[in-house]
């Protein structure tokens, strides 16, 4: 009740003051505020490796060789790399005789940092691979070797590959 009396008194006093502004107010008030705009875009990539290889054997030396290419296309965050590392050795086995040739695999490029991962295959940066083995006697031979594929930002860690996909040519 005391408050009401005070307000009534204030109102009456304000009326007495006549044209003087009772409150100081600006014609317009301005402010500026902001919103944060964010987007999270995940990395994605495809690894291109051969589906099959045909080894060529020099019948003078029984040395067998084959070449291939591997690459990575897609979109990788800066600071991350995709690793495509072939098995260093594998066995080529003769179909009828059971002979085995220890075959080595080497590849000139095994790491594709973000800048080397192009969006289109036409722009891809390739690594050259080669197979080599001695002792391929006449007959049919076959073998399988694997690629370790990983996306990582802390160096080569192909034992624990991350999300991966691959396309064979």
């Amino acid at each position: 009740m005391k408050k009401k009396r005070f307000l009534a008194g204030l109102l009456a006093a304000a009326m007495c003051l006549g044209g003087m502004p009772a409150f100081s107010a600006h014609a317009a008030e301005s402010a500026q505020d902001s919103s944060s705009v964010v987007a999270e875009v995940d990395s994605h990539y495809s690894v291109i490796i051969p589906k099959s290889l045909q080894m060529a054997v020099d019948t003078a030396t029984w040395h067998g060789t084959a070449g291939y290419q591997a690459s990575v296309v897609g979109d990788i965050e800066p600071g991350k790399s995709v690793y495509v590392v072939p098995q260093a050795r594998f066995d080529m086995v003769q179909a009828d005789g059971g002979a085995i040739v220890d075959t080595s695999v080497s590849q000139t490029k095994t790491e594709w940092p973000s800048a080397d991962v192009k969006a289109e295959e036409a722009d891809a940066i390739w690594g050259d691979g080669s197979l080599s083995g001695d002792g391929f006697q006449p007959g049919d031979w076959s073998g399988v070797f694997y690629f370790n594929i990983a996306a990582d930002d802390s160096g080569l860690n192909v034992e624990a590959p991350g999300t991966r996909s691959w396309r064979r040519t």
Partner: protein
């Protein structure tokens, strides 16, 4: 009752003192009484706008703007976003984005004038929606993208002696 009595008493005291000065001249004077009631309003803009991949390959995000409160019919609240912003991501080039917001002027609920194409009346719930979109359908590469969208908020068209807003949120 007590309120009226208090006001009357206070008024009488004031007028009494004024009257005593006038009675000597035997004149009558009128007093013009005016009142200016300030409007108040609250503008709500999003804290965060998230852009996502669209079918056309661009990244875009929508947001809403809400204005609440009571303002004079002769005024309106303007909420104007920056027309363009820039998104940044570590190791990437900045990507510009266009901002569009159809309604940018918010009139009082009782506004009887014609509404412009970019105007609306203050109503319950969001009155305006906007979009942040990468320019020219540009695609955001992988990574964490961030930017800031500034809004200019004003109470415009206010009469010279009043109509101040109450800030923005």
């Amino acid at each position: 009752m007590r309120l009226l009595a208090a006001a009357a008493m206070s008024g009488a005291l004031c007028i009494g003192s004024l009257g005593s000065a006038l009675t000597a001249r035997a004149e009558t004077q009128s007093v013009t009484v005016t009142a200016q009631v300030d409007g108040s309003y609250t503008v709500t803009i999003p804290k965060e706008i998230v852009l996502t991949l669209q079918e056309d390959g661009s990244h875009a995000g929508e947001y809403t703007v809400d204005v609440e409160g009571t303002i004079a019919d002769s005024t309106y609240v303007s909420v104007v976003p920056q027309p363009t912003i820039t998104l940044s991501s570590e190791g990437r080039e900045d990507v510009p984005c266009d901002v569009s917001q159809g309604v940018q002027k918010f009139h009082s609920r009782g506004y009887a004038g014609e509404l412009a194409a970019d105007a609306a009346k203050i109503a319950d719930g969001p009155e305006a929606s906007g979009t942040v979109r990468t320019q020219d359908g540009q695609h955001l590469a992988s990574g964490h993208w961030q930017g800031t969208l500034l809004f200019d908020i004003n109470l415009a068209g206010a009469p010279a002696a009043g109509g101040a807003g109450q800030g923005a949120e």
